[in-house]
C-alpha cells in the first residue's frame, strides 16, 4: 500500500472511531442532562457495545499494518498527518501494552468502586473504600510497568493528562506555589478585612438565573449557533466537533454565584473547543490539547476575566436590572464578595487563591503513592496533616477529607495536577495577553471578540496539534513559570485584603 492510500485508510478507520465517539458523547450528554432514570441500563449496554467496536478498530490488523507503513514514512507526511499518526500510534501502543483481560477486570473494578466510594463517603468511613482503592492503585502500578516509564513511575500517569509533564517539573512548580501561597494565605487570615458574603445567599428565581446565564455565555461570545447551554447536576463541557459544543451549569436557588461562575468556566472550555480549526477538527486531534491547557482557558474566563472589577463594571447595570434583589450592593462591594478567601476543606468550593493548595495536597499524596512511600492505611492521616499544614483546617471525618473527590475511585491518578497547572498557564498567558492588548479596557467594554481572537490565534485553533509546553513556549517565549500566577495572586489579594506586599 502506498502512502496516499494508507492515509486514506487511516481516515476511513478514524472516521469510524469518531462516529462511535460521537454516539458515546451524545449518550453521555443525554444521561447527564435529561435521560429518564430507567433508561440507564440500556444506554450503558449500547455504550458498552460502541466502546468495544471502537477498541476493535484501534486494535485491528488493518490499523497496525497501516500505522507501520506510515510510521516508516513519517518524514514524508505533512505536519497534520504526521501528528495524527503520532497520536494514533500512542493510543495504539497504550492499548496494546495492557492485556485486554486485565483491562476489562480493571474497568469492572472502577465501575464498582464508584458505587462503594459513594457509600463510604455517605458513611464517612474510609475503611469501606480502602480495599477498592488499594486494588485500583495496584492495577495502576502494574499498568505503569506494562507501559514503561522514564524516571519516576508517576510520570507515566502525569503524561496521560498533561503530555510532557514530569515529577521533576511538577515539583518545581508546586514548590513555588507552596512557598508563595501558604504565606499569603496566612497574611490574609491575619488581616483585618472581613468580607461577609452571606448577603448574596438569598433565594432567587431560577428563570432569572437562566436568563442571566444565557446572557453571560453570549457576552463572552460562546457561539450558540455551534453550541448549547443546558442544566446538569455538575457543570461540564462536551465537544462533538468544533461546530457542536455543549456546556452545562447548575442553578441553586440561594446561590447565584455558583451558576454565574460555572457559565464563565464552562464557557471558557467551550470557546476553546469551538475555536479549533475545521481542518484539525476533522481529525483525531480535534480536541483541546491537554487538561491543563483546557483549565487555563476555563479559569481565565472564570477568574482572571470573570472575577475582575473591569468585567463587572461593564455589565453591572445589566446584573442589577436582572437581579434587583441586589440593587443595594455597590460594585466595589460586589467585587470583594466574589473574591472572598476562605480556608475551606472542600476543593470544589474553594476560591481562586486556596484552590491550588487543595491540588497540592493531592499531588504530593499521589506522588508518594507511586513512589511507594506511603501505605494505604496511612493515607487519611497524611491527607489531614497536609490540609492542616497548608490550609490550616482541621479535617473531622473522611467525607470532608480523603473521600471528598470521585477521581481516585474512577482510577484517575495524575489528573489533579492539571487543575493547578491550568491556573499557572493561565496567568502566564494572561501576562502576555495584557502586553498585547489593553486588557482592562477590553474587559470594561466587553470586547470578547478581541480576546477570543488572540487566544484563538495562539491556542484554540491548534487543537492537539501543539503540545502544552510547546504552546506556552511559543506564546510566552519561556518555559512554564509559576511566578506569574503567584504574582497575580499577590497583586490581587494584597489589594483586596489591604496587605503590604
Amino acid at each position: 500500500m502506498d502512502i496516499k492510500k494508507s492515509i486514506e485508510k487511516i481516515k476511513e478507520l478514524t472516521n469510524k472511531m469518531k462516529a462511535y465517539e460521537h454516539a458515546m458523547a451524545i449518550f453521555q450528554w443525554d444521561m447527564e442532562t435529561e435521560a429518564p432514570k430507567a433508561s440507564v441500563e440500556k444506554i450503558s449496554k449500547t455504550m458498552g457495545f460502541f466502546i468495544t467496536e471502537n477498541y476493535n478498530i484501534l486494535l485491528s490488523k488493518e490499523m497496525k499494518d497501516t500505522l507501520d507503513i506510515l510510521n516508516e514514512n513519517i518524514d514524508k507526511l505533512d505536519e497534520l498527518n504526521a501528528k495524527v499518526i503520532n497520536e494514533l500510534t500512542k493510543e495504539y501502543d497504550k492499548a496494546t501494552k495492557i492485556p485486554v483481560e486485565e483491562y476489562s477486570k480493571y474497568q469492572e473494578l472502577v465501575t464498582k468502586a464508584q458505587v462503594v466510594w459513594e457509600e463510604a463517603k455517605t458513611k464517612k468511613d474510609f475503611d469501606i473504600f480502602k480495599p477498592y482503592l488499594k486494588e485500583i492503585i495496584d492495577f495502576n502500578k502494574k499498568f505503569i510497568k506494562y507501559r514503561g516509564y522514564k524516571g519516576h513511575k508517576y510520570n507515566t500517569l502525569l503524561d496521560d493528562y498533561e503530555p510532557g509533564l514530569t515529577v521533576d517539573k511538577a515539583d518545581l512548580f508546586f514548590t513555588a506555589l507552596k512557598n508563595n501561597i501558604v504565606p499569603l494565605l496566612k497574611k490574609i487570615e491575619d488581616s483585618n478585612v472581613i468580607i461577609d458574603n452571606e448577603k448574596l445567599n438569598i433565594d432567587v428565581d431560577i428563570e432569572k438565573q437562566k436568563r442571566f446565564a444565557k446572557f453571560l455565555a453570549e457576552y463572552i461570545n460562546f457561539d450558540f449557533n455551534r453550541g448549547v447551554l443546558k442544566e446538569s447536576m455538575h457543570p461540564f463541557t462536551l465537544n462533538f466537533s468544533n461546530k457542536d459544543v455543549r456546556i452545562t451549569t447548575h442553578y441553586y436557588k440561594n446561590n447565584i454565584l455558583s451558576s454565574i461562575f460555572s457559565v464563565l468556566h464552562e464557557g471558557g472550555h467551550g470557546i476553546y473547543e469551538q475555536g479549533i480549526s475545521d481542518e484539525v477538527s476533522e481529525t483525531i486531534l480535534g480536541h483541546g490539547t491537554s487538561m491543563g491547557i483546557h483549565e487555563s482557558q476555563s479559569r481565565m474566563y472564570e477568574n482572571m476575566f470573570g472575577r475582575s472589577i473591569e468585567f463587572w463594571k461593564g455589565i453591572y447595570n445589566k446584573f442589577i436590572e436582572n437581579f434587583e434583589e441586589f440593587k443595594d450592593i455597590s460594585i466595589a462591594e460586589f467585587y470583594k464578595l466574589i473574591n472572598k478567601v476562605e480556608n475551606s476543606k472542600i476543593r470544589v468550593e474553594a476560591d481562586e487563591l486556596t484552590y491550588s493548595l487543595h491540588v497540592l495536597v493531592r499531588y504530593e499524596i499521589e506522588k508518594a503513592i507511586f513512589n511507594d512511600e506511603v501505605t494505604i492505611d496511612e493515607l487519611p492521616n497524611l491527607w489531614n496533616e497536609k490540609m492542616k499544614d497548608y490550609l490550616n483546617v482541621e479535617i473531622e471525618n473522611d467525607a470532608e477529607g480523603i473521600l471528598q473527590d470521585v477521581h481516585w475511585s474512577a482510577g484517575l491518578f495524575g489528573y489533579f495536577p492539571s487543575y493547578a497547572l491550568g491556573n499557572a498557564y493561565a496567568a502566564q498567558i494572561y501576562n502576555k495577553l495584557s502586553q498585547e492588548i489593553d486588557i482592562k479596557n477590553t474587559l470594561l467594554n466587553g470586547e470578547f471578540k478581541k480576546i477570543n481572537k488572540y487566544l484563538n490565534e495562539k491556542i484554540h485553533k491548534y487543537g492537539k496539534m501543539k503540545k502544552p509546553l510547546e504552546l506556552i513556549k511559543d506564546i510566552t517565549n519561556e518555559e512554564l513559570n509559576p511566578q506569574y500566577f503567584c504574582d497575580y495572586l499577590k497583586e490581587k489579594y494584597c489589594e483586596i485584603y489591604k496587605i503590604k506586599k
Copy 2:
C-alpha cells in the same frame, strides 16, 4: 449450526442492529429538540455511517445463513422467537429485493425532494415539485414490481404501514366513513349552533403551559421514570426501549389547546410504548405493532378521553387554577369550544370529525396513482374536487391543497390511511372498553391506571407480537368495523350541534 446456537447468533446480530438504531434515535431526538444549527452536517454524517453498518448486518451472509436454518425449523421455535424470525425475514426480503444502487438513488431523490417540496409550497406552485413527485412515484411503482404484490399494487405499500391492510378492506372502510361523515358534516353546517372559539386565542405564559403539560402527562400516567416530555417544532414520540420513551409538544403563546391536545396525543403513543413487556422490548418486536394501532392509542387519549366532558370535569378546577385567564368560561362552554367542527382545508388543523375526510381524499388519490388511473398533471385538480365534494371547501392554491403535507416528498405512500384507521380502531376498542369498565366514571375520577391496565393487557404489552387485525379480532371478537367510529361521531356531534339522529 444447531437451533439454539442460531437463536443466539440472531440475538447477537439484532442486538448490534438495535445499538445502531438506539444511536440513530438519540441523534434524531437531539436534532429535533436541541442540537445547534451548525451541528447538522456532522450528525448526518454519523447517522449515515450507522445506517450503512446496520444495513450491512441485515444483509450479511451470517444473517442469511442463520435465517435459513431457523426458517427451516420455524415450527420448533417458541412463539416469540418464531415471530422475531418472521419479522426479520420480512425485513431481509424487503431489503434484498430492491437493488442497492436503485435504493441509494431513491434515498438521494427523496432527500432532495423534501427541499424542493418546501420551496414549491412556499411559492404555492405544484409545477416546481411535479417532476420530483413523478420520479418518486415511478420509483415506488418499480419497487412494487421488485417486491411483488397480491391483487392491487397499492396493497404492498399499505402493508408496509398496516400489516394485513388491502385495498379491498380499505375501500369498505373508507366507503362507510364517506357515507356517514359527509352527510353528518352537512347537517352540522346547516345547524343553528354557532361555536365561537376565538375567546381561547389569547396570550398565555409559556411557563404556565409547560406546567400544565407536565401535569396532564402525569395525570394520564405517562411514566416519567421511563420517559421525557420536551419541546420541539412538531410534536412526536420516539421510543428507545420500553424504559425510555420520549414525547414532545409545541407551545404557542396564543393557543393553549395546541399543546394540551398534543400532550394527550403523544402521551397516548408514549404509554403504548412504555407498556410493551420487557421480554418483547428486548427483541426487534419491541415497538407498537402498526401505524394504525399506534394512532388508535394516541387518538383515544386525545379525543375519546381528552375531548370528553367527563375528563374535563375531573380536572377543570385544576385547569382554571392554572389558567385563570379562562375563569369565566364554564365547563359546558369549554367542552363545546374544544369540539367545534370546521370545514378546514388543512389536515393537521382538522377537528376529530373532519379529520378522516382529509385522509379519505389522500387515500383515493394514492389508490388512483398506483392503479394508473390518474396522471401527475391531473393531481391538483383531483385534490381540489375531492375537497369540494367531501369538505365543501374551495382550495385556492397548491400550498393549501396538494402541497400541504410533507409525506409524498419523503416517499411515504400508503401511510395516510393508517391515520383514519386509527380512529376506527380506537372507536371499536373504546366500545369494548366501555362495556368492561364504567368509562365515564373512570374518566371523571381520572383513574387512568385502570384504563391503562386494560389497554396494556389487550394491546400494549404485545408490541409487534400481534398484527393489527389480529389484535382487533382478539379484543372485540369481530373484524375491523368502521360503524363504531361513525356511531361514536354521530352520538357526540348530534348532541353538541343539536341535530336529530
